[in-house]
Symmetry: C2
Subunit: 211 residues, 2 copies
């Protein structure tokens, strides 16, 4: 069976989004700082239609992750653009625009039934049957690995259910002082350190979750 | 002025001690796992009177830290051996035994006045005048840097007061699911990543705290 891995950026104090999210600041106060290391990369800028950018130790990490990913699962907040009253709006197209950067099937965990939505080369399928159903569908749609693209709550759910095989955390050199924690009541799963990459403005930590 | 740096081991989920500490398990359930990377090192075992051990990428990190440290500050819980009813026992000698591994002056933050205690080559001075008083005394006693040896609450206090210059976090590949968090209401100080070291069973993260 292929690997289910989660990859997410976290502040040093353990948050994946800052406090007080709004539509203008969907990652909460200070939350953009979690992703500055990525925004600086040529490998991020090109698929997002932006020029310039640098290539550094994070580029290889990002390329490896892209290469192994066949399908992805994401929480409804990540699809709709952060926590807020708009997150369950059935008309929302997400904050991904007309050309989402995924280019592979994405399965969105939600409580609201909805027809699949295709934007550019990405089809979002809305799954109301729970995390195991989403994982089954994501695995059936590819021979490659399945990524949990976030957010924190989706990762927590898979971790608590013992379904997560690998955890990749990009630790950004910021503290957010509040917001959404990546690890809240996630128990004591056994981890094995795969390794760490020291990159400009970020540290990439990789762990195997032992069953 | 010399640098005030904190160095501490933290679980991936942000804890510096596990839940339910006891005298037998002062670091709480699972808390020993935070320090396994250190226990395995020759550089840790020798000053603690134990044979064997390995030399790896953590050895240099530990040697650099020892070389720069002139004096240290610690919280009362770290002196007395974890949280519990014994932590304010005025007769307690701490859990450091007759030959504590410090070999330099240590200033203990406490609310209880007490005469200095010399064990082997280490003198513990008990400071009731608050964190700034302890820092003044620690700086006056050396030309080298001052370390905050822990625990989490002492580091939080110096961080919140804007007195901390550097933060060194050893991320252990464990999750504790509860206990004492390193970062709780510590606000949003600006950080700069100094670098990371990928070592066996631990990742050493170093940050400058920008004022």
């Amino acid at each position: 069976m292929t690997t289910l891995f989660a990859e997410i950026s976290m502040s040093l104090d353990g948050y994946v989004a800052g406090p007080n999210p709004t539509l203008d600041e969907p990652l909460g106060e200070g939350g953009e700082g979690l992703h500055e290391w990525g925004f600086a990369l040529k490998e991020w800028r090109e698929p997002h239609g932006r020029e310039g950018g640098e290539t550094n130790a994070s580029s290889e990490v990002m390329a490896e992750s892209l290469a192994r990913t066949g399908t992805a699962i994401m929480g409804r907040r990540m699809f709709s653009g952060g926590a807020g009253p708009w997150e369950d709006d059935p008309k929302a197209k997400g904050w991904w625009g007309d050309e989402p950067p995924f280019h592979h099937p994405v399965f969105v965990l939600t409580h609201h039934e909805r027809d699949p939505l295709t934007l550019g080369e990405t089809t979002f399928t809305f799954v109301t049957g729970g995390i195991e159903s989403a994982l089954d569908q994501a695995r059936q749609a590819t021979d490659k690995d399945v990524a949990i693209a976030g957010g924190g709550q989706a990762i927590q759910q898979y971790l608590r259910a013992g379904l997560l095989d690998e955890l990749h955390v990009n630790v950004a050199p910021v503290m957010l002082g509040g917001g959404v924690r990546l690890f809240e009541d996630t128990g004591r799963p056994d981890l094995e350190l795969i390794g760490a990459v020291d990159a400009p403005g970020v540290t990439h930590l990789s762990y195997r979750v032992l069953k």
